[in-house]
Structure formats: C-alpha cells, structure tokens
Amino acid sequence: MNTTLNIQAQVILLITTVLFAPILAHAESAEDESAKNRGMAIAVEADKRDTGFVDFTANMVMELRNKQGDKSTRTIRLKTLEVIGDGDKSMSIFDKPADVKGTAFLTHSHALKPDEQWLYLPALKRVKRINSKNKSGPFMGSEFAYEDLASQEIEKYTYKFVRDEKLNGIDYYVIERYPAYQHSGYTRQVVWVNNKRYVAEKIEFYDRKNSLLKTLNNTDYQQYLDQYWRPDTMLMENHQTGKSTLLTWENYQFKTGLTDKNFTRNSLKRAR
C-alpha cells in the first residue's frame, strides 16, 4: 500500500515537473536576470563612489611568504591617474630588491581592449613594450596576478548577486563576477562587498578548473578626502601552494597634481 502510494506520488511529481518545468525554468531565468542586474548595480555603485579621486600616490611593501615561512620583500612606489571613460594610467617603481631598483612599469589600461604596458630596465636603459594580453601570470613572483592589481573597470566582468551575508557584525553583499576577457586565469571570483562602504573586503578566486585557488582579504580600510576608501593591508593566500603575499600600503596621497605627462614613456625613464 505504502509502496503504491509512493509510486503514485512519484508519478504525480514527475508529471508535475514535466508540465511545470518550462514555467519553473522561466521563473529561474527571471530570477537569474534580477541577480545579474543586482550584481551589476552593486558594481556600478562601487565604481561611482570611487570616481573623482583624480590621482593618488602611495608606497607599497610586498612580503612574499612560502610554505616553509621564508620571506622575501619588495618595496614599490605607485602613482595612478584616473582616466574618466577609460582605464586608469599607472606607474609602479621598484626600490627593493636592490638588483631591480629603478625598474618601473607603465600601464595605460583599458576596459576591454588590451592595455599598453612598458617595462623600464635601468641597467640596459631600455624601455620595453610588453605583451599585456595575458595578465594571469604572477606579479614579481607574488601571489598577485597582474590582473588582480590592474585597474578594475566595470566592463572587465559580468556580475551576479548571490546573497546578503552578515560576518562579524558587518553586512555584505556577496556577488560573483566573471571575467569578460578570455585570457583571465579565473572562471569566477566571489566578492564580499561591504554594503555601507561599497568596497571589496574579501575576494575568492576560482581557477580555470573552477576550484578555489586564492583568497584575498583587504583590511584596515581608511577613508581619504571624506570619500575614497583604501585598505592598509591586503593579504592574498594561495590555497593550492600554501604561499601568501602581504601588501602593506603607506603614505596615500590624493590629488597630487599628476597629469598625462607623468605617465609617458620618457617619464618612465626618469621615474626612479
């Protein structure tokens, strides 16, 4: 008797599923659409709130750690110029390690077309254009890929809202973003966006096989010019290798008067 009922129930469930599947699917895709829109809206709002900083300079200490606890340090000076309607321009100059002192990168980033990037090698006095199409490689042996440190334009991803989440008393929007450019090293990133400040406090990176590769924690956010939030520390942990990289930011200065002329190939040679 029980068995018959069970079978009946199963049949009914099956019929229901078959009959209503298109409707369910439709409801799901509508939900999908709204998740996409909401994800996008969060990204747009975050971008809007960070617009208008004009330029900034900062110093960065990068500490590389391996599984055995060995440490290696790089110190880098960074200059960024905001470009409205396109990717930002930036220059990073190495002070340490001593053998690469004076080495500098100049990047003219773009939303979707490839960035232009030049490397200055002081020993050779050579400005070398580098193929920036593939940005999935590590930056200076660290756990940060070039694409992790690149200017974050809205168009670089598509988005999906996942859920609201409360962690340690702080409300987050959890969104997923999918790289729009084919050479990315990631299938997706899960981002915890602080819902008051609209900044990413945690990002999980999933590799090309969609398994968890790295986690980035941005902490000790400071507000500059009463508007722009920047983290003092960024810790990137690689779950697959056990290595990690800690970025410590110092001496943030905004609206320092930088112009396009500070981001040319000739200025790259004088940057040190």
């Binding site: 390690p97 077309k113 200076m140 042996g141 090293g185 000739n266 004088r270």
Partner: protein, 411 residues
C-alpha cells in the same frame, strides 16, 4: 702633475656638491661582484689561460629635484681581471644631467653628459642600437656598452617620440688583450692609436635621430645616424707578438646608417624586426652600401601545466650581405627557449643555439640567473662554439667553450 691637479679639482667640486645637502636626498646604489670563467680545452695561444677570476664594481648615484624635472645621474664601472690587462678597465657609464621643460603645448627633455641609450627589439642581435660603443671585453654577446658623451633632445607627443643626439667624443671599442679569452685570432691592440680613415679622426662630432611611436599593438621606430661607425670597418696588421701572433689595430670610418625596428603583438605571439642599411663615406671601403636584418618571433606559453612558469620560444633569423666586413650573423638562425619561473628569486633561464645555414657552425648558449636572499644575484652562462670554418670570425673561438659564473652583491 697637471692631471693630478685637475683630478683634485673635480673631486673637490663633487665633494662640495655632495656636502651642500645634496647627498641627503640623493640615492647611492649599485653592485660589487666576483666572476670566474672556466674553459674546457687548452687555449690556442700559449699566452691564454684555462681559468680567469675577476672582480667588478658599479656604484651609482642619483638625485632629482625641482619636482622630478631635473636629475643628476652618475654610474661608474671598474673591473679587475686576473690575467687580461685589457679586461682590467674602468668606464664612466653615466655622468649626466637631465632637465624637463614643458608648458601646455610643448615638452622637451634635455640630457647633457655621458649616458647610454638603447634602440631595438630583437633578442639575439642588436642591429639598430648604434649610439653607444660596445664594451666587447666585458662579454662576447656585445650587450655591454661604454658611456657616450652626448647632448640629447627628446619630445614625446601624441604622434610619437622624437630623439635628437649630438655626439662629440668617439669611444673606441674595447677588445681582449693577448692573454684574454675568448679573443680574435689576431691580437687587437687598443693601446696603439686606432686608424681613422678621415681627417677629423677622433674629434669628429656625430649626429643621430630617432622617431618612434605605437599604434595599438604595433610599435615601430626609424633611426638615422651620421658619423664614425662604432664597428671597425677593417683591422690593419701592425706588428707580430713574441708568440708569433699578428697584432692589428682597428680602422674606423665615417658612415651613414638608417635603421628600422618594429614589434607587434598577436595574442601570445610577439613579432620582431630590425633592419639597417649602412653606407661607408670614407677610406678604402668608401661608397660600399651594406644591408643587415634580423627578424623573428617569441611565442609564450603562460603558466605551463598549471604552474606559474612561463615558457617562451624565441626564433630569429639573421642576414647580412657581408659587403663591409665578415660578421658572425650572415645567414643564421637563432632558436632559444626561455623559462621564466615567476618565483620569489626571479629565476630565469634562456637556452638556445645559433646555426649558420651555410657553414653549419653552431654556437650554443645557456644563461641562467636568480636572486639569493634579498641582496645577492647569481648568474651562470655556458657558451660553446662548434664547427667554425677557417677564415670565419668564430674560427678563433673553436677551443673556447666556457662557463662563466657571476656572483654580485647589490646595494
């Protein structure tokens, strides 16, 4: 006596500059290091040795002021070699002032002093890079350059970069001495006066210019040079050494050279081209017109087999019509693999060989480098030369396969 007084005056001037608060905001850096070269076979000449030790120092001082619009750069170089007295040499690599002058329409950068510039894109030969003389005694690959006195004007606009150079004070190429290894079969004696086959000689002022620009993923440059060719057009025998070897001096001639260099990215491919056309304007080879080119690609596999290692394939073809002089690269194919480990020690390995299509001469090389701790770097090189034919430039290197190790401390 007069020299000593001049020296003291210069030192005094430099000291007073430093003491006047300059030194506090300036930066000292550089490296010191040791090098060993070990050869696997007995040398051709009884004057040469099987192993060489040397020490090197390259201190640097840099200071900028006026919001970065002006700077002073000093880089000195000195190497002491155990056996080769020509390789024991010093050079002012850099002693220059740079100033930037700009308003809303114009921007010019002016550099005066001793400096270095690099032109070109290819990996295994630098054809268009003509401003600085090669410091040939430093390494056989010709990558090391001597400081060149110059006044350089440069402007960067929406339509590209223009560089103009006035180059007074020709620098003669360095060559290994009688005890140096590897070296040409004839001993090039740089202590004797070189021959200039034109009247101005060493006093001739040279000029150069370059225009370069990029359009999207394509970069290109066109360069012009008029003056004393950096490469000797000939070598004149002048004596015979005690061991019976010919002693020669280099002959320098006036030339005009036009060069082009170009590089384009297509996905993971980088295509590269350099070409130069040279006309000799003086001496026995006057009016000879010569063409050289090097072209090829580098293809990079990023993150091979889920690691962070990049593997690059470098292929470059070299051509020279050999009308001015017999060069190593006349009809040669260079192929190499480049491993970039992207690790904390910045480990890199470039390994490959150059094959002459006509003579089947093969030159192979391995160059590896990595950082040790925070301040040391270790470099290792292996160079071998097989099947060189008599009369060709590499013939005198036929027993000179060697390994070189450099350990440097950077500060």
């Amino acid at each position: 006596m007069k020299n000593i007084r001049t020296c003291l005056a210069v030192i005094g001037l430099l000291c007073s500059c430093f003491v006047s608060g300059f030194v506090y905001s300036g930066e000292f850096s550089g490296y010191i290091g040791g090098q060993t070269r070990i050869f696997f076979e007995e040398p051709i000449s009884s004057e040469q040795h099987n192993s060489y030790l040397s020490a090197v120092a390259e201190p640097e001082f840099f200071h900028d002021w006026d919001n970065g619009a002006q700077n002073l750069e000093v880089k000195l170089f000195y190497r002491i070699d155990q056996h080769d007295e020509q390789r024991t040499h010093g050079d002012i690599r850099e002693l220059s002032w740079t100033g930037v002058f700009e308003n809303s329409h114009e921007n010019w950068e002016v550099l005066a002093g001793i400096s270095k510039v690099f032109w070109g894109v290819t990996e295994t030969q630098h054809l268009v890079d003509i401003v600085n003389q090669t410091d040939q005694v430093e390494n056989v690959d010709g990558e090391d350059k001597l400081g060149q006195p110059m006044i350089r004007f440069s402007t960067e606009r929406d339509w590209g970069i223009v560089d103009l150079f006035i180059l007074p004070g020709f620098r003669e190429r360095t060559f290994p001495g009688a005890e140096g290894r590897p070296r040409p079969g004839a001993i090039v004696d740089t202590d004797r006066n070189a021959i200039y086959d034109f009247s101005a000689g060493k006093q001739h002022v040279d000029f150069a210019g370059r225009y370069s620009h990029y359009i999207g993923e394509w970069e290109f440059g066109v360069s012009l040079f008029t003056g004393t060719g950096r490469e000797p057009t000939d070598f004149k025998p002048v004596a015979v050494s005690p061991t019976g070897e010919t002693i020669v001096v280099p002959v320098y001639s006036l030339i005009n050279q036009i060069g082009v260099d170009s590089q384009a990215f297509f996905g993971d491919w980088t295509w590269k081209l350099e070409a130069a056309n040279t006309i000799v304007r003086s001496g026995a080879k006057k009016d000879i017109n010569s063409f050289k080119t090097v072209a090829g690609f580098e293809y990079t596999l990023v993150g091979i087999s889920d690691s962070s290692i990049d593997l690059g394939f470098v292929v470059e073809y070299h051509y020279s019509d050999q009308r001015i002089s017999d060069t190593i690269f006349d009809n040669d194919l260079a192929t190499a693999l480049r491993f970039v480990l992207n690790d904390a020690q910045s480990t890199e390995i470039l390994a490959g060989f150059t094959t002459d299509a006509d003579t089947q001469t093969i030159g192979s090389f391995i160059e590896a480098s990595r950082r040790l701790g925070e301040s040391w770097t270790l470099e290792a090189q292996l160079r071998t030369f097989h099947g060189a034919k008599q009369g060709r430039p590499l013939f005198s290197f036929r027993f000179d396969n060697f390994v070189q190790i450099d350990l440097n401390y950077h500060f």
